[in-house]
Symmetry: C2
Subunit: 180 residues, 2 copies
C-alpha cells in the first residue's frame, strides 16, 4: 500500500564520492598547511557519510509517504502521549519553530496530525496525533526497525559499542566546527 509519493523514488545511484587520502594530502599541500591528513580524512568522510545517510533516510521514509523530519515529529509526538506544542516539538527535534510549522502543515494536509488551540495558553497550539497518524507509524514500524538494524548489521555488538562511544566524542566536538 504505497502512497502518492512524487519525490525520491529513483535510486540516485551516485552518492557523494568519499574523498581519498591523496586528495586530502594534495589539498593540504596546496595551501602550505600543516594539518594532519588522517584527521582531515576522518572528518571529511564523516561529513560525506552524514550526507549520504541523510539522503538514504529520505528515500527510506519516502517509501511510507513521509520524510525524515515528518517521521521524527510523528514519532516524538507518539512518545509524548500524542499531544505536544510546536515549541516543545521544535526543542526536542532540534529544529526551529518555523520548520515545525512547515512539518505540521504537511502532516495536517495528510491528516496525520491536527492543530488545536491550546486551552492554557491563548497564544499556543497543540499538535495532536490522529488515529490515521498512529496507524501510519504502526504500519511502517516493522520495516523501519528492520532497516535501521540492518544499517549497522555489519558490526558486532562490541564494535557497535565502540562506534557509539567514538561517535559521541565526535559529536561533542561538532561545536568546534561552528563556534565563534
Amino acid at each position: 500500500m504505497r502512497r502518492h509519493i512524487t519525490f525520491m523514488t529513483q535510486h540516485p545511484e551516485t552518492g557523494p564520492a568519499a574523498p581519498s587520502i591523496e586528495q586530502v594530502r594534495r589539498q593540504i599541500a596546496r595551501y602550505g598547511l600543516s594539518a594532519d591528513p588522517q584527521a582531515i580524512l576522518v572528518a571529511a568522510r564523516l561529513m560525506t557519510a552524514g550526507a549520504r545517510l541523510g539522503q538514504a533516510g529520505e528515500v527510506h521514509f519516502g517509501r511510507f509517504g513521509l520524510s525524515t523530519g515528518r517521521y521524527r515529529l510523528l514519532a516524538d509526538l507518539e512518545d509524548h502521549g500524542g499531544e505536544k506544542s510546536p515549541s516543545q516539538l521544535a526543542a526536542t527535534l532540534g529544529v526551529s519553530r518555523a520548520t515545525v510549522t512547515g512539518l505540521v502543515d504537511g502532516l495536517e494536509r495528510e491528516g496525520l496530525v491536527v492543530r488545536r488551540p491550546s486551552a492554557e495558553d491563548g497564544r499556543g497550539n497543540v499538535v495532536i496525533l490522529t488515529a490515521r497518524g498512529a496507524d501510519r507509524l504502526r504500519e511502517l514500524a516493522p520495516e523501519h526497525f528492520a532497516r535501521m538494524q540492518s544499517l549497522v548489521g555489519g558490526l558486532s555488538v562490541e564494535e557497535r559499542a565502540t562506534f557509539l562511544d567514538l561517535l559521541a566524542r565526535v559529536v561533542a566536538g561538532i561545536d568546534a566546527l561552528a563556534e565563534d
Copy 2:
C-alpha cells in the same frame, strides 16, 4: 573580512536531541517487535549525528560566504585543474545535475566561477574556477582545515583509524536503508 551572509549566523543552540536507549526500547515494545535496541540506538544516533554535522557544516562554510555544497563544488573544481563540466561535477559530488545548476548559479553570481560553452560538445558547458574563486578557497583553507581537524581532535590516532573503519562498514550498509 566577513561577507554579506544572511543565513546561519545565529547559533541555533539546539541540535537534535540524541535518542535514549529507553526511548528506543519503548518504541520497539510499543509495536511488539524484536529488534535489537542497541543496534537501533546506534543507527538513530548516527542519523542524528549526521544531521547535526550537516547543520554545523553549513554554519562553518557560511562564515566564508559559502555553503557546504558550494564549497565542495569549488574544491572539486580546483582539484581538477579548475575546469569541469556540470555533469562531471554532479557525478563526483554525488548530486543531481539540477543541483549543480543551482550551485553554479550561486557561485557565478558571486563571481567565483564562470560558465563557458564547451568547445567539443555543443550541448555542454564548462564551469571554470575564477581567480576570485581560487582566492576564496585559499583564504578559507587555514581555518577550514583547523576546524576539520579539531572536529576529531578528541580521538587518538588509533581511535580515528578504528572510527574510519567502522564508519566505512556502516556506509557500506547504507543502501540497505533505501533498497527496494
